[in-house]
């Protein structure tokens, strides 16, 4: 496709460019969209993309067929993903070897290749169209959906779907006050963690005295396992840039920074290309669209600590100082980057803005609950059949996310808890699964929206150990500046570790509660203020597990290594000798036709025997909180009949 190269000096020129770009997209034309996001690139997507280009060339189809390498489609676990339009045929886990067949069968002959389709793990039913796959069917992808429609390295693709129209509206139809009012009316709340009303925040910056004002995009995304901001930035950088430009018009800013995590090279690359192309077209820089408005956007690569995502720490880091939070007030809106009023928003927040301006605040506010509007992208991971990025309307019950979109718990296990909100979120039990997703709804039950992590846990998960794990992470990530966080978390981690090791004391829960109160109430920044959530929520909903660990030295989930023993059930052992051979510490005594016995003194609880014991014998057990039964007397250890068979 030839590039739009001319600078767009007016709104008409933009409309013309949009029409041209759109007209080049014949909706009936065969189009192949292959995901080239980081997740898919990790599994050969580069080779798939090259294979398509070569194959289309070879079969002489380059003119007839549109090929597009896009950003993340969300179902990364099943990548590389290929979608063929207009039929919307969706192929998963495509390898370069499948490419010639896709081109000759699907593209040329219009046939569907069965083996590349999605198969429902429960029913075995196959889905042809992307929108029929349960993972996608129950989502509402207004922010993330366009990823599939565009090549992020081609600004024409963004223009073809009406890109930068919202900017034109902001520049030519609306006054700054009207933009702020519109964003306020949409009730959009920040997607970066705290859920602060975006329009209200813009107004603070707009009203703050001073001529120089800065805008900042927070793309630090330090939550382990979360990657929605990366995927938006990689897959649709122009939507973020357009959002920022609208914000710039509203608050009167002429300079902005995108703070991108160091570990996101593709996001940095695609953003860089997008900025360059937007500058070429006069959508960034001086005299944007001939309006006289000027705005420059720069990219800053962040050093990577979790706490650098906190806004005041991020600004410190942008200024080249150590990334430590500082007390607020003054808020960045009043005194931010280099002492100037600064408005900082999350990537996803910014990407929502063009949508609001295009569709109107009322349309946006029609989605969601009373206090949480629009959609939210979550990173759904853990013990769940379908993992990936999911965009759902606010207000959707957690149950639907887990079972309709996520496909439930694999391995025949049961759901136990869901952690929302990232490392300092809370763990919610089964009884709360009908809770509608929303900022206040989640906070009320001791969790939070955070930036959108969702970790599903099954019944083999020990909730005390979960709390220990997250508090450990947060202790390591504490910037060390204030005492309740640095020292309090360190002590909380010690106590939790002790409990999981069976050395818990009667006064431990009181001490943990006291340290939690201290951190929540007295910490300087939200890291410390929210860090006790994993403990507090597990105590609230799974108190019995704490009590079992402390009082009975028992781990009900049979997970804490120090509290379990492996035991061979003499009635089930068929002396196959597999475990005996595999045990790394030779802790198993046995022999042909002899019931096997684990020597508890030698056993290191590695669990190998349980893993290798054939399912048909299923003789190895985990025990916790009860004494290991003594082995059968020697004369009763011989197995009558044929060994090795049940």
């Amino acid at each position: 496709m030839s590039r739009v190269e001319q600078r767009l000096t007016s709104r008409d020129a933009l409309e013309q460019a949009i029409r041209t770009a759109a007209s080049r997209r014949d909706p009936k034309k065969r189009t192949i969209s292959t995901c080239g996001g980081t997740g898919c690139l990790a599994c050969e997507a580069t080779d798939v993309i090259t294979a398509f280009r070569d194959e289309l060339e070879k079969q002489g189809l380059t003119a007839e067929v549109e090929f597009r390498s896009t950003g993340c489609h969300g179902f990364c676990e099943k990548g590389p993903i290929v979608v063929v339009d207009p039929e919307e045929t969706c192929y998963l886990q495509v390898t370069p070897k499948d490419v010639p067949e896709i081109v000759s069968q699907t593209i040329r002959a219009g046939k569907v290749i069965d083996r590349l389709l999605y198969v429902d793990p429960l029913t075995g039913a196959k889905s042809v169209r992307e929108s029929d796959i349960p993972f996608y069917k129950n989502q509402k992808r207004i922010v993330f959906g366009p990823n599939r429609k565009i090549d992020p390295q081609r600004i024409e693709d963004y223009l073809a779907i009406g890109g930068y129209r919202a900017l034109a509206k902001a520049l030519f139809d609306l006054s700054p006050d009207e933009i702020v009012a519109e964003v306020k009316a949409s009730k959009l709340r920040g997607r970066g963690g705290a859920g602060f009303p975006t329009g209200v925040k813009w107004e603070f910056t707009q009203k703050a005295p001073g001529d120089t004002k800065y805008l900042v995009v927070n793309c630090d995304e330090g939550d382990p396992g979360a990657y929605m901001d990366r995927s938006l930035m990689e897959g649709n950088p122009h939507s973020v840039i357009e959002g920022v430009l609208i914000g710039a018009v509203a608050v009167g800013s002429h300079e902005g920074y995108v703070y991108v995590r160091q570990e996101y090279p593709l996001a940095v690359k695609n953003l860089g290309i997008a900025i360059e192309q937007a500058e070429e077209l006069g959508l960034l820089g001086k005299d944007i669209l001939g309006s006289g408005f000027e705005f420059h956007l720069k990219v800053h690569r962040g050093a990577g600590a979790f706490v650098c995502g906190e806004e005041t720490a991020l600004l410190m880091s942008l200024e080249g100082r150590p990334g430590e939070p500082r007390p607020r007030p003054p808020y960045p809106a009043v005194r931010g980057l280099w002492g100037k009023p600064t408005n900082i928003n999350n990537v996803e927040t910014w990407a929502n803005v063009p949508l609001i301006i295009n569709e109107g605040s009322a349309a946006f506010a029609s989605i969601g609950t009373e206090t949480s509007k629009g959609t939210k992208i979550f990173s759904l991971v853990g013990k769940i059949a379908n993992t990936g990025l999911v965009e759902v309307p606010m207000g959707i019950p957690l149950r639907d996310v887990i079972f309709k979109i996520g496909g439930g718990i694999p391995g025949g296990r049961k759901f136990k808890a869901m952690q929302t909100g990232g490392p300092s979120g809370g763990c919610l039990p089964e009884a709360l699964l009908d809770l509608p997703v929303g900022f206040d709804e989640l906070t009320k039950v001791g969790s939070m929206m955070g930036s959108g992590g969702m970790i599903v846990m099954d019944d083999a998960t020990c909730m005390v150990d979960v709390a220990r794990y997250f508090v450990d992470f947060l202790t390591e990530e504490s910037c060390g500046k204030c005492v309740p966080c640095r020292e309090g978390l360190r002590q909380m981690h010690r106590i939790l570790t002790r409990i999981t090791q069976g050395k818990g004391r009667q006064d431990d829960l009181a001490a943990l509660e006291q340290l939690s109160e201290t951190a929540v109430e007295a910490s300087l920044c939200a890291l410390g203020k929210t860090a006790p959530n994993p403990f507090l929520s597990t105590l609230r909903y799974f108190r019995d597990e704490y009590e079992a660990h402390i009082n009975e030295k028992r781990c009900p989930a049979l997970s804490c290594k120090a509290l379990i023993s492996y035991y061979i059930d003499p009635a089930r052992c068929r002396a196959c000798m597999i475990c005996l051979k595999k045990c790394p510490t030779q802790a198993i005594d046995g022999g042909k036709k002899r019931i096997h016995v684990i020597d508890q003194a030698k056993c290191t609880n590695c669990g190998t025997c349980l893993e290798v014991c054939p399912a048909k014998f299923d003789a190895v057990r985990k025990l916790s909180g009860v004494p290991v039964p003594p082995p059968p007397p020697d004369d009763q250890r011989t197995i009558a009949g044929k060994a090795n068979e049940p």
Partner: protein, 200 residues
């Protein structure tokens, strides 16, 4: 600058705009415990001992008084069961590092803190940052700084600067609430500074 009127522990107090709640309280003779605060240094907000309860629009929250600016009609409480409980925990956490610090022992008496509440933590330094900030902000020398980050952060003298400047200054020594600063200096001195010619 114009004065702001607020209420602290039931008393009407006037303070210049831009002052902190701690400044306003001190001026009115109300004592709030502090550890990392120093009049001549920029607010830091690290130790959190100076937390006070703010009431605004029916909501209560705790803030560090040494860093929180006064606002008109603010209602402040400098003591309550909750505040005392939190100060007690903070002192206990600090005592895990420096059980023999005179200042901490004093605070422990006031708030009933138990020096053995938590397992001892490594290192006497309580990261109040007074030495580092004093040297940077007042002396503009940066002879002592923090190295590493987070829970592994430590103070460290920079031998090139310290060997030149510290012997004649030592102004930060009395600021340290623990004995760590001096110990660290003595160690660095022994290891890294050549003895001055006069003592040879």
């Amino acid at each position: 600058m114009s004065d702001v009127t607020l209420q602290i522990d039931g008393k009407q107090v006037a303070a210049p705009a831009g002052a902190t709640v701690l400044d306003a309280a001190s001026a009115a003779g109300i004592v709030i415990p502090t550890l990392c605060h120093h009049e001549r240094l920029a607010p830091f907000g690290g130790c959190r001992l100076c937390v006070v309860e703010l009431e605004s629009r029916g909501q209560h929250r705790l803030v560090a008084s040494c860093a929180h600016p006064v606002e008109p009609d603010l209602v402040v409480r400098t003591r309550s069961d909750k505040i005392d409980r939190i100060r007690k925990s903070l002192v206990e956490l600090l005592l895990a590092h420096a059980p023999d610090s005179t200042r901490l022992k004093e605070l422990a008496r006031e708030y009933g803190a138990d020096r053995d509440r938590f397992e001892p933590a490594e290192g006497f330094c309580v990261h109040c940052g007074l030495c580092v900030r004093y040297c940077a902000e007042i002396k503009k020398l940066h002879a002592v700084g923090f190295i590493d980050r987070g829970i592994r952060k430590e103070i460290s003298f920079l031998p090139e600067i310290a060997s030149r400047e510290c012997a004649g200054c030592k102004e930060c020594f009395p600021l340290c609430p623990t004995s760590y600063l001096q110990a660290a200096y003595v160690l660095v001195e022994a290891l890294a500074f050549p003895p001055p010619p006069s003592t040879r």
